[in-house]
């Protein structure tokens, strides 16, 4: 390293940036990670659940030392109307075995831990510093500018999140549009570990992941989520920005009503809200991919829009970490060749394409469009609720066949409409 020049500068110490920084430092590169928050994780928020596989590849056995909340052993999905819930509840003693484990996390602690790992590996972490601009020389990114200081590097890794102004400044990414982003709002609600275990039927250190669709978002694409942490619950809603036109409710109002829903209220009773947060989720997946590399720069994690939402599963952090790994591998090769041009860094995209990251994003590319179907969030939850009400109501009226009961409700939507939606849904997954 020449004076004042790093091999790599990583902008953003979220999970993508720290994963990349960790691997680059471990390979002996001089790495600077710059974070605008006062510590890594200070600006970050998740629902949230981390699928472990991609971090496990980088730091085997990480779950033993990382600040994880609970291991998810139980999956729940509910369809809500304003006053009812139909829930699928899956639990298995096989859940979370070798490499399929996932954990609830809180980013403030988790990201700080991962950034510490990068530092231990030799990366330099500078916090409380906002990168204003990228340094561009002869069309090639060659460092960063903060205030009136310039810092040079052979390559810059943009891991600056969904609002990556830097990627836009150099034309790698178009501004995110309202149909490509969902707003998430979350409360962290404190309850004792005992109470959480009792209310959710969990053993110590076990957790539940619970997603909700239906009345939560008042007809808009989106839903609610609940994750159990050690002694808090993460409870929130997500709603696609362009969909808000279907309702007059505000985001804070949706969250308040969700908290008061009869399926939720008893679960959080006597809980104390200790934090409120909001964050954008880049949701359009494969169809919003930016240019992933250019001369002297690559883009990873949320900044690259690497998020998958399948309705029953939301993934961002495992993709972010994997993209950090592939970016690091491409940069390590580039360092060996001493060639940081676009053609050399193209290896990053090749590695992503060969991996689950772009394969999965491609696989689910039609799902975001499928979800923009208001029936999913209004008529189907109502239909399910009506069918259940019929099945479980005994009031002395003579019985009808179950099929007839169900068909009464299906006909309200139309059997062909339902079959068409089901077919489209299955095809897009």
């Amino acid at each position: 390293m020449s004076e004042n020049k790093f091999d790599a500068i990583v902008v953003g110490a979220g999970v993508a940036g720290s994963a990349a920084g960790y691997l680059l430092a471990k390979a002996g590169l001089e790495v600077l990670i710059i974070e605008r928050g006062n510590f890594a994780g200070a600006k970050n928020m998740t629902g949230g659940r981390l699928y472990s596989h991609s971090l496990e590849r980088i730091i085997p056995g990480f779950a033993k030392e990382a600040p994880l909340e609970r291991k998810v052993v139980r999956e729940k999905i509910s369809m809500l109307t304003a006053d009812s819930a139909v829930t699928i509840d899956y639990q298995s003693s096989q859940s979370g075995e070798a490499n399929t484990d996932s954990y609830t996390v809180l980013r403030s602690d988790f990201d700080r831990w991962l950034a510490d790992k990068a530092e231990e590996a030799g990366a330099v972490l500078a916090t409380g510093i906002l990168v204003d601009k990228l340094l561009v020389k002869d069309g090639k990114v060659s460092g960063i500018i903060t205030g009136d200081e310039e810092m040079e590097a052979d390559v810059v890794v943009l891991a600056d999140g969904v609002n990556s102004l830097l990627a836009e400044q150099i034309g790698m990414k178009k501004p995110v549009t309202p149909s490509q982003a969902a707003i998430g709002a979350k409360e962290v609600i404190e309850l004792s570990a005992d109470v959480i275990q009792q209310r959710f039927n969990l053993n110590e250190s076990e957790g539940v992941s619970w997603l909700f669709a239906g009345s939560v978002t008042d007809g808009c694409t989106g839903g609610g989520f609940l994750y159990t942490n050690k002694d808090t619950i993460s409870l929130g809603i997500v709603c696609t920005l362009s969909e808000l036109k279907h309702t007059d409710k505000t985001i804070p109002q949706m969250l308040d009503e969700f908290k008061e829903h009869p399926a939720i209220a008893p679960l959080i009773a006597n809980g104390k809200t200790v934090e409120y947060s909001g964050h954008l989720v880049p949701e359009a997946g494969y169809n919003m991919l930016p240019k992933l590399y250019q001369d002297g720069v690559v883009i990873i994690g949320d900044a690259a829009g690497l998020v998958i939402n399948t309705g029953y599963m939301v993934r961002g952090m495992d993709l972010a970490i994997a993209s950090g790994e592939y970016a690091a591998r491409a940069i390590i090769q580039a360092k060996e060749k001493n060639d940081f041009s676009a053609s050399s860094l193209a290896d990053y995209q090749r590695l992503l394409e060969e991996s689950f990251v772009l394969k999965d994003l491609k696989h689910y590319q039609n799902f975001p469009a499928f979800m923009e179907n208001p029936r999913i969030f209004t008529e189907y939850p109502q239909m399910l609720s009506d069918v259940m009400a019929d099945m479980f109501t005994v009031d002395g009226t003579p019985a009808q066949s179950l099929l007839k009961k169900i068909m009464t409700h299906v006909k309200k939507i139309g059997i062909f409409t339902l079959l068409k939606d089901a077919w489209k849904g299955v095809r897009s997954l």
Partner: protein, 94 residues
């Protein structure tokens, strides 16, 4: 009893930069629908419509999500930047 949004924001840790507004808006932007979008979507409820249909906005409780940037940059939102280093929201849980 519902907590107000102000009470919720009161739980969060902010380092407010008194000298620099990282978001600048056109409070008299003529299109009402455009202003209402922000009133509806801002998770921190920082955009409020006044009786005279002008918009008031306070950057101090900003959660830095970027919603107003995505919805209205170039219309109501004139400038959108991250707060300077060290300033703004600091999540203790996240």
């Amino acid at each position: 009893m519902r907590m107000t949004i102000e009470e919720k924001l009161g739980l969060d840790k902010f380092f407010v930069d008194e000298d620099y507004a990282h978001i600048v808006i056109d409070k008299d932007y003529p299109d009402l629908a455009e202003k209402n979008k922000l009133v509806q979507a801002c998770p921190a409820g920082l955009y409020k419509l006044n009786a005279d249909q002008s918009l008031s906005f306070d950057y101090a409780g900003c959660l830095e999500c970027g919603t107003c940037r995505v919805l209205a940059l170039g219309t109501v939102v004139k400038e959108w930047n991250h707060p300077k280093g060290e300033y703004g929201i600091e999540f203790r849980y996240g």
